[in-house]
């Protein structure tokens, strides 16, 4: 059975695989998921980086990293998987502003990241290894998922060349980013995370408030991409002539 786990360059392999196998073949090519995992509250996504197995893992993982609970919506509801997908597919994922010359040597913790992987490669390698070695994360009960993530955070198990703690830390960082970045980047849906903490967002003029102590600033937050009607535009609409 052909799986999505084969090492194909992502920009070629996935699409060609679908074309070659056809729709019916795609159904057999995907890992079988229990019905309960498919009923997750995931918003409909068009992933451009993640294949289906990766997406399944990411959605399940971020849903535990920042869960929906009594405090409010979590990372899944906020569109964090979409954010991570677009980041990994973009310049940051491809290694912009990352010094990528060798030789690569392991270093001390104070010396920081020394792996040869771009963020995209790191995620791809680690999730592939995870899905191979510990398949079915998405099918575990939440408590078991938490224990799994906890182990991921603490161990240094090699995941396709990525120590699991490095992968975990990277995943947690992009999850928090996606939760709190401007919604123009595809996460922080409806600015709900900002509303939860009371952060006002992109438009910011507080000259008249800064010396009025202890006020409750409850005006709705604003995105840098919102228009006069409060609608946030992820896509740029050209002005009609």
């Amino acid at each position: 059975m052909t799986t999505q786990d084969e090492s194909l360059p992502y920009d070629l392999g996935r699409r060609r695989l679908f074309q070659a196998i056809g729709a019916a073949g795609v159904a057999t090519a995907l890992p079988m998921l229990p019905a309960q995992a498919q009923q997750r509250e995931a918003p409909a996504q068009a992933y451009i980086f993640f294949n289906a197995a990766e997406a399944t893992f990411i959605e399940a993982a971020v849903a535990r990293l920042i869960p929906k609970d009594a405090t409010g919506p979590g990372a899944l509801e906020a569109g964090v998987p979409n954010y991570i997908d677009k980041q990994l597919a973009g310049a940051w994922g491809a290694g912009e502003r990352l010094y990528r010359s060798g030789p690569w040597q392991p270093g001390a913790p104070t010396q920081g990241y020394q792996l040869p992987f771009t963020p995209a490669e790191l995620f791809r390698n680690a999730i592939r290894a995870l899905n191979q070695k510990h398949a079915g994360f998405a099918t575990l009960m939440p408590k078991e998922q938490d224990a799994f993530l906890d182990a991921l955070q603490k161990s240094k198990e090699d995941l396709g060349g990525v120590p699991s703690n490095v992968f975990f830390e990277s995943l947690l960082e992009v999850t928090i980013e996606g939760f709190f970045a401007d919604p123009v980047y595809g996460g922080n849906k409806d600015m709900t995370p900002w509303k939860m903490i009371g952060f006002p967002g992109a438009y910011a003029d507080f000259y008249e408030y800064v010396d009025k102590y202890n006020i409750a600033y409850t005006a709705p937050p604003t995105s840098l991409a919102q228009d006069a009607n409060g609608r946030i535009h992820i896509h740029i609409e050209p002005k009609r002539k």
Partner: protein, 245 residues
């Protein structure tokens, strides 16, 4: 009209809000939509603190207007609060206004980008997306009357309007020539009015317990805290680009 308004004010304690509003409506319209021919701007849906400040300013001279000055001087602070709250809660709706002005590239550029040579920043940074206002102090400009906006910028420029403690408006207006003032006024006049329930200025929640202490050292301190626990600075081991610490 002015005399009628003043007569309505006389039995102050017995007169409830609606009668005061009738006085305002004479010039500012039944729904606070303004009356361009009277030079009375649209006030419906403007932030409450902004409106209140204008009334106070007319009373104490920070703004000067032959019609508004005597009216404002007759109002008590409580009445100013009540009136500004009433009009802030109204929804801005289309009403009589000057003929729609053509949107213009220069006005749009100044509003969204500013002008380097003139030392002028984009209006939207304080006045919100599309000039729909920000917070409880920065008014919406979208859909206001073009001539009123020109007059307002002129007042900022001449210094006769002193209602901006940051002096940004005075600085900005003094950097703008007459043609740019006209372009900006025309641009904002042509923008759609803020829509109900979707913008920051529509029914803005009261910002704060109004607690206008500005003198340092007068802040209340909550009860004394408890123990000191140590924490460790930490750092990222991932491919980063996050610098979350």
């Amino acid at each position: 009209m002015k005399l009628l308004f003043l007569l309505l004010l006389l039995p102050l304690s017995a007169v409830g809000q609606p009668l005061l509003v009738q006085g305002c409506a004479g010039c500012h319209g039944a729904q606070g939509e303004g009356n361009a021919s009277e030079g009375a701007p649209r006030i419906a849906g403007q932030p409450q603190a902004y409106l209140e400040r204008q009334l106070a300013a007319f009373a104490d001279g920070r703004r000067e207007n032959g019609v508004m000055t005597p009216i404002a001087r007759q109002l008590t602070p409580e009445q100013r609060t009540a009136l500004s709250t009433y009009y802030s809660d109204l929804r801005a709706r289309a009403g009589k206004s000057s003929p729609p002005a053509a949107a213009n590239a220069r006005g749009r550029a100044l509003a969204t980008r500013g002008d380097r040579a003139l030392n002028v920043q984009a209006c939207q940074s304080c006045h919100g997306p599309g000039g729909t206002g920000f917070g409880n102090v920065n008014p919406y400009l979208a859909g206001l009357d073009r001539r009123y906006l020109e007059m307002a910028l002129g007042e900022w420029k001449s210094g006769s309007r002193k209602t901006d403690p940051s002096q940004q408006m005075n600085q900005i207006a003094s950097n703008l020539g007459d043609a740019d003032i006209k372009a900006l006024a025309a641009y904002f006049a042509s923008q759609p009015l803020p829509q109900p329930a979707t913008t920051a200025t529509q029914k803005p929640p009261r910002i704060g317990a109004p607690d206008e202490r500005t003198r340092p050292g007068t802040a209340t301190t909550p009860r004394a805290g408890t123990g000191v626990t140590g924490g460790e600075p930490s750092g990222s081991q991932g491919p980063g680009g996050s610098g979350t610490k």
